[in-house]
């Protein structure tokens, strides 16, 4: 009738079965082997990477009938009783439910006595970060000098909430995120044992979605089996994971770079209809922009991106539509909007407006290009620097601005509302007016070779970052 989920069924029973925590496992094994077990351990790390498991295995290793051994037998009475959570000398306490001083005092008291059957008395406190300050402090004395046969093991996801006085009395082990490769291998093992068929691509999808947590990966596999039975197809898997289709992402980025805000609304509608959670989709979109930035700025990007060749060429084509600076700016705007998106009471509207704003971001003209333009003009000698007329400034942004109202009339968009005074603050048309006022100083400064190199290296970056900050300031009009 009932079944055990994979996360429980395949909970490692020996140190060797543990996945991805080599350093921790080796240290613990050696400690047991050399009889140098500490009096208190603190295991920290993200969810589902093996903290509680490690604590239980360590308990078995210490109490196994065959001596403290780095390889507990899982056969003797002691190991079995720990596996079944009925050993009287191994107390596993839920720190989040027993968090007061009054809950801690009995633990402190039992710590004083020798174990009844086994070699060691082991006190595991899981979720230890939830103990109250008083409870932590009540533990300090016992923790510092416990009787030789008592071992404390604490496990927590939130290391920073544990007081420093506790940490300094414990050996602290940090559990790492499990690498995708390890997760895939582990899932493959499970599939073999359970007789499941799944493509390597599907395993990759699960591993990616699980974000380094073995338990998450196992849960997803469980869900996949519940949905499709023993043959797990890629398409069904995508449905379960809610994987967003690449086409949709490309449509979004095209709308942004081709400056088509009107297309945004129907696209968002499409996302909702296909049943995606907007917040989840938002994350995927951020990832997509990151990929674009990567492919536009790194030469051998295919090594860093897990895409097939067609997708790569498509990404490359898309990345031609704007400069890396544009991608960077969009990416930054998206990232700044992330908390807003998460807590907004109306994510759809928030998302739509955010995208409309992105569409209105103008293409960036690099300062480097502007300077080159000046140099060119100077060399031509047609105009002296002092009498440099406004119109000879590189023109892409101003022309854009003038084009806009024709192509898409709007009652009073941000483009049209700029007065000369405001213009110097609006990010959109910075290259047009601002530098003109300082053209003399700039001209002098530019002759300095040091300034020249500095400008060319840093200004491009500064330019690409600034307009987003300006966006907030712009609210003054």
């Amino acid at each position: 009738m009932s079944y055990l989920i994979y996360a429980r069924k395949y909970r490692p029973k020996t140190f060797e079965e543990m996945i991805g925590q080599k350093a921790v496992v080796q240290t613990l094994q050696n400690a047991v082997k050399n009889n140098r077990v500490a009096q208190a351990y603190l295991f920290s790390g993200m969810r589902g990477v093996g903290k509680t498991t490690a604590a239980r295995i360590l308990a078995k290793a210490l109490n196994c009938q065959h001596g403290p051994t780095p390889t507990p037998c899982n056969k003797c009475e002691f190991c079995l009783s720990i596996n079944e959570d009925r050993s009287i000398d191994v107390l596993e306490i839920d720190g989040a439910s027993n968090r007061g001083v009054e809950d801690i005092s009995p633990i402190r008291d039992t710590g004083k006595y020798k174990p009844i059957h086994s070699r060691f008395k082991i006190i595991i406190i899981d979720e230890v970060h939830m103990l109250s300050t008083h409870a932590f402090n009540a533990l300090l004395k016992t923790l510092e000098e416990p009787p030789p046969s008592t071992v404390f093991i604490f496990a927590t996801t939130e290391f920073h909430k544990v007081p420093a006085t506790i940490i300094s009395r414990c050996q602290h082990f940090e559990f790492k995120k499990v690498s995708q490769k390890d997760i895939i291998n582990h899932l493959m093992d499970i599939c073999k044992k359970e007789g499941l068929t799944i493509s390597p691509y599907g395993l990759g999808l699960i591993a990616e979605a699980s974000d380094g947590s073995i338990r998450d990966a196992q849960s997803l596999l469980d869900q996949a089996v519940a949905f499709c039975g023993e043959n797990i197809g890629d398409q069904e898997l995508k449905e379960i994971l809610g994987t967003v289709s690449q086409d949709l992402l490309f449509e979004f980025s095209s709308a942004v770079f081709e400056e088509k805000p009107e297309a945004v609304f129907s696209l968002v509608e499409k996302v909702i209809e296909s049943g995606h959670d907007l917040r989840f989709f938002f994350k995927e979109l951020v990832e997509h922009f990151r990929n674009l930035l990567l492919i536009a700025s790194v030469e051998n990007a295919q090594d860093l991106l897990a895409f097939n060749p067609e997708e790569l060429t498509r990404l490359k084509e898309e990345s031609q539509k704007a400069s890396p600076e544009d991608f960077l700016r969009c990416l930054q705007a998206l990232q700044q909007a992330e908390p807003g998106m998460r807590y907004s009471s109306h994510p759809q509207i928030y998302f739509e407006v955010l995208l409309v704003r992105l569409c209105h971001f103008k293409k960036i003209v690099l300062l480097k290009d502007i300077l080159q333009e000046i140099d060119k003009i100077k060399k031509e000698g047609a105009v002296s620097a002092e009498s440099l007329p406004r119109t000879s400034w590189p023109s892409p942004p101003p022309i854009k601005a003038q084009e806009k109202p024709e192509t898409r009339p709007r009652p009073s968009g941000p483009v049209e509302t700029k007065t000369p005074a405001a213009a110097s603050h609006t990010p959109f048309d910075k290259p047009k007016d601002e530098p003109i006022k300082q053209e003399r100083e700039m001209d002098i400064a530019l002759k300095d070779p040091a300034v020249k190199t500095f400008m060319s290296t840093f200004k491009a970056r500064v330019l690409s970052v600034e307009p987003i900050k300006g966006k907030a300031k712009e609210e003054e009009d």
């Binding site: 439910s97 849960s219 039975g229 049943g275 739509e352 968009g413």
Partner: protein, 326 residues
């Protein structure tokens, strides 16, 4: 209510039915999805199906157990709801103790935690151990609208099922089955945006009246008409008197504003949130510049978010007012 009586979300229903058939119903689950799409109904149906005397993969609605669960007096199905603003740690010991006891009369013990995002940090942490390794006869189902507020550690211990909004066509169909006219059903389906429960609970006249009222207030604000109406209505009232009212108003305001943006961008009028207000939207849109509209939207969003966080309503309303007027 059997599974086929729940509208929409065929994917979720399929997963649940399959897992019942294969007898692989996970012991800890998290149902997430927007308001009013049938999360709780699905959870209750699952509880019935697990305990039903007649069927094994669905609820029959006729046997003793199904009826008892429906009436809320089945001893093995327990629902936890927030006491006040939070689900407090005091409510959790009952879950933790009962979870380890065999069911009294049914086959499975089922705990439903409604609005699981309201669990505060203490209570959420305190059920971690149960969620991780519940006995095989116990199922814990957390229900939430806002998975972002659920602790990562809780999420990772549960099988997550996400419900999507009910599609417009399905809502329209459901409304027409209840005797709505075609046109009204279409508009209503657009207005509720996937919230089937709301669609069925609202009266057409009532909702039209609310929208009329909201439009008048909003119009007065943007056209600099009798804009103090808004302040008079909301800024000097006690929190519990106007909170819900203001919340609804703000939601309607933001839908108007969003439609303004759509119009300003020459978007497709079929995508309006308020399709029957198209002419009014076109007229009202002229009062606000592009930037002003976006700013107003931001303001409303901030106000709505802080409304849920015990902010002073008077201050909140005044701040929004000056932001829209200024």
């Amino acid at each position: 209510m059997a599974f086929h009586d729940i509208a929409g979300n065929s994917r979720v229903k399929k997963i649940l039915k399959l897992s019942l058939q294969r007898q692989r119903v996970p012991n800890s689950m998290l149902f997430c999805g927007p308001q009013g799409v049938g999360k709780r109904n699905a959870a209750l149906t699952l509880a019935k199906a697990l305990n039903c005397l007649e069927k094994t993969d669905d609820a029959c609605e006729e046997c003793l157990h199904c009826r008892a669960i429906h009436g809320g007096n089945f001893p093995d199905v327990i629902e936890i709801v927030a006491a006040g603003d939070f689900i407090k740690i005091d409510q959790m010991p009952i879950v933790k103790q009962l979870a380890y006891l065999k069911p009294m009369s049914g086959r499975r013990r089922v705990f439903l935690v409604d609005e699981a995002e309201k669990m505060n940090e203490e209570s959420a942490n305190s059920i971690l151990k149960v969620l991780e390794e519940p006995p095989l006869f116990t199922h814990i189902i957390l229900i939430t609208e806002n998975p972002a507020f659920i602790l990562q550690t809780v999420k990772s211990r549960c099988q997550v099922l996400s419900f999507s909004p009910v599609s417009k066509d399905e809502i329209e169909q459901a409304l027409r089955d209840r005797g709505y006219e075609e046109e009204k059903a279409r508009i209503m389906a657009l207005l509720v945006r996937g919230n089937l429960e709301q669609a069925l609970g609202l009266e057409w006249e009532e909702i039209q009246r609310r929208r009329q009222e909201a439009w008048e207030l909003f119009h007065a604000l943007i056209s600099r008409g009798e804009s103090s109406l808004f302040l008079r209505k909301y800024a000097f009232q006690k929190r519990n008197v106007v909170k819900e009212d203001l919340e609804q108003m703000l939601e309607l305001f933001s839908s108007f504003c969003r439609d303004f943006v759509l119009m300003k961008e020459n978007g497709d009028p079929a995508l309006l949130f308020n399709p029957d207000y198209e002419s009014r939207i076109r007229e009202g849109e002229k009062y606000l510049s592009y930037e002003q509209t976006l700013r107003t939207l931001d303001g409303i969003d901030v106000a709505m978010t802080s409304l849920g966080r015990n902010m002073n309503i008077g201050l909140l309303a005044s701040a929004l007012y000056s932001r829209m007027i200024g």
